[in-house]
Symmetry: C2
DNA sequence: CTGAAAGCGCTTACAG
DNA sequence: CTGAAAGCGCTTACAG
């Protein structure tokens, strides 16, 4: 069963007895009006009947537009990324673009290799979910003059467009909530400082506790090695050691918060009775944990949509300014936060 | 800042003063040996220095190979799919292929539209995670003679290669476990019968209870409208109505199991004390639910890998036979299953 | 309104 | 070993 050769403009033109350029004009809605109604109708009819689909790759070669956008993810298994990807894909689809998705990991040289491949495939732009605060790969993309936008994580220098959630606000909402409940010994388990999310949430935490005029010995920050459950558990253990008075933890994200759950359970501590925990992201099923996780919901799907929109704009007008779109997060109060015990220090 | 035009073979050839076909030969490792060592070295050097990356699209047009594979997902937000996608992507990458990923939903006409687009983009093959037991879209792909493999869900007629988990075995493990614990009134909340997973797990459940010689009034099957938490909750309510003696539920998947959790909690019933629940998939964080979910772990990443391997084989040898690869699942016993109460009916 | 031609950036038989 | 040429399937100025 040999694969039947795909039809071409010429095949179709021969069948209808017109020049293939005429078929081309008809197949493209934008140029369809250039040909006589009846001819167009006949061509369309035959095209439909024979299931003709013009070769977009050949067209792209000619028009210098691939209709491809590269999406570079650090880890698609992390539950933040699928909805972001879905958002990207949905607006791309509306404009006839399609994403090429690669799981690039965290290794910068591998990321660069992948981006080179994508450029070789003529992607018209790139969405990076892998950006760090200082990112050689991002520098590389900029040098290549390829349209780029970062999503979820921002970038320091303002050279590229970014779509992020407001991390300062997130921590302010978190700390306000905790202080409002009566907590006076609050800690933050930060994500990696190399990532804008880790850096800014930490920054936001510090700003927030200062705003509440908490004394320096009433709050504490510790950094987790990564945004993972394991690293969160480890950091939580160190935190309890370093800051035993703690009654509330603002975790860098939900996975880190889960790590806290794991450790507290192991130590026989009750959440929220002994220690309150707040996450960040509101990942799927955060409500199904025990206790249901109080967390900051970020607009993941919108983040993807907006990133795609920004990128498309960048592609349309190459010179346009880089902008940062900051989406507003929302605190979702559930069962992992409560007032501290009366006998809390 | 105009986008610097990308380099071409001709640009490079002009710079080095050789014919561009020579540059072409050097850029492709497979034909590199055709040119003199020193010339090749010089070309490679300049190519590296100038950051030349051959246009894969143009090459693909010439060689009739796009290096693209289409991946059609019903819903990337469903936690089964990201690891499958990761698996697909990883083996594709090894062979220089790249996936085009689209969230196609469940609507068949939209799926077909998307597949048409993908074919227009010259994908060399398709991985469908959207297959139903009788699937018009799959029929369409077969008529187009495009290499296809289905993943996670199988297909009835054996016309295409499938990679699935052994659903009959999964239910046998589940029922064995439940019966072993002493349960004598067991129910299954099945997924949609239109999907192979829903159909076969139901089948497996029935076979398993028969093997244990449970009397017909000692087991019950009810079908959920979809594989979702909400549908699971609804079905669970109906189940309690229809089969009040039930002490153990084999849920169609983990989301359905979560729906059961939701309903049981609402009714003030304890899991596992009043009713045991078993899921299917072992989705991320199934262990972090309360109680931790006993479930069947399927080899998701391997499933993706294997699907990609099968597809690549199909692409290499178009005529080759369709095969079904069945991966072996594993029961993961956690806290949602226990012996029934002594006073259970 | 339609056709004929050039060309997008490659690969690869064919000469030499 | 290297060059010159044809051609992959399109789009689009240019004629007529």
């Amino acid at each position: 069963m040999p694969e039947r050769k795909r039809l071409t403009l010429k095949d179709l033109a021969a069948e209808i007895d017109v020049h293939y350029s005429t078929v081309s004009r008809v197949m493209n809605p934008a140029t369809r009006h250039l040909v006589a109604q009846d001819v167009a109708a006949r061509i369309l009819e035959v095209a439909e009947a024979r299931g003709f689909r013009p070769n977009r790759i050949a067209a792209g070669l000619r028009t210098q537009r691939s209709g491809l956008v590269g999406v570079v993810l650090p880890d698609i298994a992390n539950p933040v990324f699928p909805p972001i990807l879905a958002g990207i894909e949905s607006v791309l689809a509306q404009k006839g673009y399609v994403p090429i998705v690669v799981n690039a990991g965290t290794d910068k040289s591998r990321q660069r290799f992948i981006i080179d491949q994508m450029i070789g495939r003529q992607v018209e732009g790139l969405v990076l979910a892998t950006a760090e605060r200082e990112d050689a790969v991002l520098d590389y993309c900029i040098r290549q003059h390829i349209p780029v936008v970062t999503v979820n994580r921002g970038e320091e220098t303002g050279r590229v467009s970014c779509v992020v959630s407001d991390n300062l606000l997130a921590m302010r909402l978190t700390v306000d909530h905790l202080v409002g409940l009566g907590h006076r010994h609050i800690a933050h388990i930060a994500g990696p400082a190399a990532l804008s999310t880790g850096f800014l949430r930490r920054e936001g935490f510090v700003q927030a506790v200062r705003r509440h005029r908490l004394r320096r010995d009433a709050w504490h920050v510790i950094e987790a090695a990564s945004y993972s459950r394991e690293a969160g558990k480890l950091a939580c253990a160190q935190l309890l050691e370093a800051f035993p008075a703690v009654t509330a933890i603002a975790a860098g994200n939900d996975l880190v918060a889960m790590g806290c759950y794991d450790l507290l359970r192991e130590r026989g501590l009750d959440c929220p009775a002994d220690i309150s925990v707040v996450g960040h992201n509101d990942m799927p099923f955060a409500d199904a944990l025990t206790p249901p996780l109080t967390t900051v919901r970020i607009a993941v799907h919108e983040m993807g949509e907006e990133a795609a929109r920004l990128l498309l704009r960048q592609i349309d007008k190459p010179g346009s300014d880089a902008v940062t779109v900051q989406l507003t997060p929302q605190l979702i109060v559930r069962g992992s936060t409560a007032a501290p015990r009366d006998d809390a220090p």
